[in-house]
Structure formats: C-alpha cells, structure tokens
C-alpha cells in the first residue's frame, strides 16, 4: 500500500491473472496487426522530484491522437503507424482540439476532450494553486504505432528534449488504445530519461507492467476515458490532482498504483 492506495504487486494470484491477460493479448494482437512489434523498455529511467507540488511546471503528453483541428490529422491507415507528433500552446481553447485515432471509441472525448486530455483541469489546478504553472507547449501523438523504432530513434527524444529545454518539472501522460499504451510507455520512459519525472495513466495495467515504466496510475475505465469520466469536471480534477500527487510519493520505478475509481458509465 501507498497510503490508502493499492500498489499492484508483481507476485501472487492477481499478478498471475494479469500476466495471463497480457499473454492472451500478446498472442492475439498479431492476428489484427501482423507487423506489430512488442517493444518493452529495456531500462527503466528514474528521476525524482525535489520541488513542492505548488511550484511544479506541468506538461501534458498523450498518445490518444489529439491535435488541433487546424493541424494535419494523424495517418490512421499507415502500415507501421504514424510516429509524428503535434504540438500546440497549452493556452488554446480546448474546443480547438480533436482526436484522430480509429482504434478505440473516443466519441465522448469528442464532446469533452478533458476525459482524455485534461487541459482544462490542469489550468484549474494552476488557478487553485495546487500546481505552479503549465508548460507553454503541450504534445499529442497517435499511439497506434505497430513498429516503434522511429518513435524511439526520432520523435520521442525530440519531444523529451523540447520539454527539457523548456524547464518542465513534471509530465502527465494519457493513453488511447491498447497499442497506445506501448507507445506512451516508450515516450514516458524517454522523457524520464532526460531528467523529468513522469506519471502515465493506464487502462491496461497488464500491458503497462510488461512495458516497464517509471510510474503509472491504473484507473478501471474503458479506452476513451484515460483522464476520467466525460462531463464530470470535479471528478476529473480530483483524479488528476491525486495522480499528480503520487509522483513524489512513489519511491521505486515500475510502480503501478490502483486508483480508487470505478467505471459507472455505459458499457455498450
């Protein structure tokens, strides 16, 4: 346990259950995407935060396929995926954002982008003095990347270095679909590697733990709700605040915290 939060242990019946789920997914993913390359992080990077939370400059990165409506959409049909990224000001009107990704249902995020990309909630946390400020630039990837070799060699380090140059203290990351979890874990570990503490939300802990990431918060929601339920701003804000506050509390890499939130929306 970490305070009142449960840490997912890498042993016991629940771990074995998650491992079976991962193995089942890993066997089946090739039926849908024959060129998929499972690429776990070989070394897990680790950076500790020394500043208090109310002084943090926080950045936001997602693999949910978010971009400005005026920007070129991601290529969802690319054989090996689209490892490019989109950057935009953290001060933009959230209505200017949209999602291009055909691998999960983001219809509710199309109405309330904050359930995937909590830009408004982060501004509110700044206004309330919970965190210090936001990075000038936020980033979006489209996480369906079958073979992440160019992500690892090119675009993930580019974004990590830009965040470092901007002096960002902490990065929050949110995933889209299953393969997006792999993409995000690679981006997260790359950012952590340049010396910025990170935390990702995960909807698929069995994959995230095999990918090996510095820190993750498991929320028991379906794809499309990586930052909370749609149109529930207070709950979204509470979740984001709690998830960020875990960063200094987690003392070891590869820690996944099970958040005390349960999906109550529609299933179909």
């Amino acid at each position: 346990m970490l305070g009142n939060y449960e840490i997912l242990k890498k042993e016991g019946a629940q771990y074995e259950r998650r491992l079976r789920l991962f193995q089942s997914w890993h066997e089946n993913v090739f039926k849908w995407h024959e060129n998929f390359v499972f690429t776990p992080n070989k070394v897990v990077n680790w950076t500790e935060i020394s500043k208090p939370m109310n002084e943090w400059k926080v950045g936001l990165v997602s693999s949910c396929g978010v971009h400005l409506r005026s920007q070129k959409p991601f290529d969802t049909d690319a054989h090996e995926g689209d490892w490019s990224y989109r950057e935009f000001s953290s001060d933009i009107n959230p209505k200017e954002l949209m999602i291009t990704d055909s691998h999960y249902d983001h219809s509710e995020a199309d109405e309330d982008i904050n359930c995937m990309y909590p830009i408004t909630r982060l501004h509110e946390l700044v206004n309330e003095g919970v965190i210090g400020s936001l990075s000038k630039t936020f980033y979006g990837f489209m996480g369906w990347i079958a073979n992440p070799k160019d992500l690892i060699a090119d675009t993930a380090p580019q974004v990590a270095n830009r965040l470092k140059e901007e002096g960002v203290d902490v990065i929050l990351l949110t995933p889209g679909c299953a393969v997006c979890h792999q993409t995000l874990a690679i981006i997260q570990n790359t950012i952590e590697g340049v010396g910025i503490p990170t935390i990702m939300t995960t909807l698929k802990p069995q994959l995230t733990e095999q990918m090996r990431v510095p820190r993750a918060a498991y929320i028991r929601f379906p794809y499309g709700f990586a930052a909370g339920p749609a149109n529930q701003p207070e709950l979204q804000k509470q979740m984001i605040k709690e998830i960020l506050s875990l960063i200094p509390e987690i003392k070891e890499p590869e820690t996944i915290i099970k958040m005390p939130y349960r999906w109550r929306g529609q299933i179909g």
């Binding site: 691998h103 249902d105 679909c177 028991r220 379906p222 109550r264």
Partner: protein
C-alpha cells in the same frame, strides 16, 4: 453495485437497530455482520471480474465506430 449498496445499508440499519434495542440478540447481530461480509465478497467479484470483462467487451467493440460503411 447500487443494489449491493442498498443491501449493505439495510443490513447496517438492522444491525444498528438491534444493538440499540433493550435486549440486543447476539445471533441477529452476528447474522447481519455475516451478510455484510458476503456483500463485500460479492462486490469484490463484481469489481474485479465482471466489471473488467465488461470493460474489455466495450474496448474491443470500440473501433467499430470507425469502420468504413
């Protein structure tokens, strides 16, 4: 989950009423507490297994939103 919450509230109220009565019957209190324990177990099963399967079903059917006509 809401039905379980209603059951739990009912058991808690019955247990509290029994404890406040002039002559609390221990067997009834034990029964209410054992029912609460069963409700906890049922909630765990629903949370960990049923909810997870329902979420997986939703996740798998999600991309159909974007299939070409």
């Amino acid at each position: 989950m809401d039905i379980i919450a209603d059951f739990r509230q009912d058991m808690l109220e019955r247990c509290a009423a029994e404890q406040k009565s002039t002559h609390p019957r221990e067997a009834r209190i034990n029964f209410y507490n054992s029912q609460l324990s069963r409700l906890d177990n049922l909630e765990t099963v629903l949370e960990e297994d049923v909810l997870e399967i329902l979420i997986r079903i939703r996740n798998i059917s999600g991309p159909i939103e974007y299939f070409p006509d």
